[in-house]
């Protein structure tokens, strides 16, 4: 298919569904913030100023300032890169590993299927957030380990989707035909089955991104992973939580809202992505 037709299809899906278009616009905005956050932020996110402690939102500080006088807007903007980066890395990890394991399980069956499925069941048997906490606690308190922990707890979802989608297609005529065309089993899995399971997996990725952001922020909220001076939505909410009672709501409200918006955006994105990737929606 030509690139032009692909672009036309993307435009068609966006025009057809304004909610998707909105989600994509929001996503684009977040990506901009993530990439150029340090240059877009009006103030230094780490600079403290004792004379401007806990100021409410104003023209100078749109989101107000925190207990150390740091500009919350700047911190929220700069944090986007870290939060998105962690979530993206975790989701890509679990997508790659989960799809490979799940697709093999669904295609080859037998002992591969049994062991992979039991692995997924075992992970699912834990309360996932507690498992993530345990993994970070065991591996060490660092950003990489938050990524690994988030990837591991998301693994079962990819394994299950990939396994079931491959399983329903492994006896399809086109798989048998691919064998006759000279494909080895591994090639069939990679070039015939994998592209066909992408639409449902894409939805999973998008839903998962939101969830991964929430998870990474959650771990930071309870003090794991990201260290305090570094701006990160979870930590910012945690730091502001104690000021809620005394009336300084903006300290945790804005990072929380942005976090919620990001998760919401990814959830909406899922449907749109599926439509774009599914060739049957192409006209």
């Amino acid at each position: 298919m030509t690139e032009l037709a692909g672009l036309r299809h993307v435009r068609y899906v966006l025009a057809d569904n304004p909610v998707t278009a909105g989600a994509f616009a929001l996503f684009g905005f977040f990506v901009l913030l993530a990439l150029f956050g340090p240059w877009l932020a009006p103030f230094d996110p780490l600079a403290t100023s004792p004379d401007k402690v806990l100021q409410p939102p104003s023209a100078a500080h749109w989101f107000g300032t925190d207990q150390l006088g740091r500009d919350i807007l700047s911190r929220v903007i700069v944090a986007t890169g870290l939060d998105f980066g962690m979530a993206l890395a975790a989701v890509l990890l679990s997508f790659g590993l989960g799809c490979a394991l799940g697709a093999c399980a669904g295609y080859y069956g037998g002992w591969i299927d049994r062991s992979v499925s039991r692995l997924a069941d075992t992970i699912m048997a834990f309360p996932l957030f507690v498992l993530a906490m345990a993994i970070v606690a065991a591996l060490g308190n660092s950003v990489e380990n938050i990524i690994y922990a988030t990837a591991i707890i998301n693994l079962p979802f990819y394994i299950r989707v990939a396994r079931s989608e491959v399983n329903v297609r492994r006896n399809a005529g086109f798989v048998e035909a691919a064998r006759l065309s000279g494909n080895t089993e591994a090639r069939i899995l990679a070039f015939h089955l994998f592209p066909n399971i992408l639409p449902p997996v894409m939805v999973q990725i998008s839903l998962n991104m939101g969830w991964a952001i929430l998870n990474a922020a959650g771990l930071s909220f309870i003090g794991l992973g990201v260290r305090p001076p570094q701006p990160e939505w979870g930590i910012m909410v945690a730091e502001g939580a104690s000021y809620m009672i005394s009336g300084e709501w903006w300290v945790s409200f804005f990072p929380g809202m942005v976090l919620m918006l990001a998760v919401f955006c990814f959830n909406l994105l899922g449907d749109g992505l599926r439509d774009m990737i599914d060739p049957r929606r192409r006209t």
Binding site: A172, G173, A178, R179, L180, R282
Partner: protein, 335 residues
């Protein structure tokens, strides 16, 4: 190197048994468990000559598809030999067959053109794949060849860029045929190639297939339960019942003077325009189960209108009744 006196394909006493999962207790008792075997293909002999067109008919579940998968070498036989141009290919594991030189010589047109095309591959991608993987073509040589094949199956060039869901049933069938003949195989297996098509398209596709056979000099193994199609296109017919060939012979002879009671019943079921409804032979009873069938008994007994005690004592084997015409029945019809 290639022995021309040998038939193109020679299958001898090939069997495929599938173990069935037995509903056992939670704790498997080794001694008590004996896996039941489903005899899908149970000792089949067949040979296909160069340029010959052979029909394989039989009801659903008789093992046609399993036999086809054994011949296309995507399934390993339990026993027996499959020789292609004199070389034993039955012993090559199906998982390795994709890289064997015979792969490109044995191709297949699938029953359902929708199911057999990858929904994410354009017609061009689908036709290109065997040429790339087995024909080692690339670049302009590849695209020239794709266009030549599209012309051969009378498919407009503009359709090559389309996905299966943008093609009609007949066009999809052409893509499937183009993929199969792209490498000019010597044996083409056609698994009910027209079953999923409209009657009007069926005729066109059948003409195309007959044309292609002449142009490319392929042998056909035509699997169908549409007996009229087999009668039109095939030189020889084999009738299969529960994993075995019960009658095989020249198409004319089998259709005009069937010897096996099952073949007679099958032929009488062809819908005709004349008021011949009364001549239809109805088979009573259910087919014997293919799971661990009694080897000392005719498989057709119980449904056979001619069944006698002798049929429960031994299983008939294929016996030559006339030149090239063999029947497996204790009480065959006389010519």
């Amino acid at each position: 190197m290639i022995d021309d006196t040998q038939p193109l394909l020679q299958v001898e006493q090939v069997r495929k048994l599938f173990p069935l999962k037995t509903a056992g207790s939670l704790v498997p008792l080794r001694a008590a468990r004996r896996t039941a075997l489903l005899h899908a293909v149970d000792g089949v002999d067949l040979s296909i000559g160069r340029g010959e067109s052979v029909g394989l008919v039989g009801e659903s579940g008789c093992g046609k598809s399993t036999l086809v998968r054994l011949i296309t070498r995507t399934l390993d036989p339990t026993e027996g030999s499959i020789r292609f141009r004199g070389e034993d290919i039955g012993g090559i594991p199906a998982s390795r067959f994709a890289r064997v030189p015979q792969r490109k010589l044995i191709q297949m047109v699938f029953q359902d053109p929708t199911d057999s095309l990858n929904p994410r591959y354009t017609a061009r991608d689908t036709i290109a794949e065997p040429l790339r993987l087995l024909g080692n073509l690339s670049g302009t040589a590849l695209s020239d060849r794709i266009e030549a094949i599209a012309a051969l199956v009378q498919m407009p060039r503009e359709l090559l860029g389309r996905f299966p869901h943008q093609l009609s049933g007949g066009q999809k069938a052409r893509v499937g045929i183009a993929r199969a003949v792209a490498l000019e195989p010597s044996l083409l297996i056609l698994d009910e190639p027209t079953a999923a098509l409209d009657v009007s398209v069926q005729a066109v596709i059948l003409h195309l297939l007959a044309d292609l056979r002449e142009k490319l000099g392929m042998s056909y193994l035509f699997v169908s339960h549409d007996l009229n199609i087999v009668r039109l296109l095939c030189d020889r017919v084999m009738v299969m019942y529960l994993g075995r060939i019960v009658e095989s012979g020249p198409a004319r002879q089998v259709f005009e003077a069937p010897r096996h009671p099952y073949t007679r019943a099958l032929l009488s079921a062809i819908p005709g325009l004349g008021g011949e409804a009364s001549r239809r032979i109805r088979l009573e009873g259910d087919p014997t189960s293919p799971v661990d069938p009694d080897p000392g008994r005719c498989r057709f007994h119980g449904r056979c209108p001619k069944g006698q005690d002798a049929c429960t004592r031994s299983s008939p084997s294929l016996v030559q009744m006339a030149p090239g015409h063999a029947v497996a029945c204790h009480f065959p019809e006389s010519a």
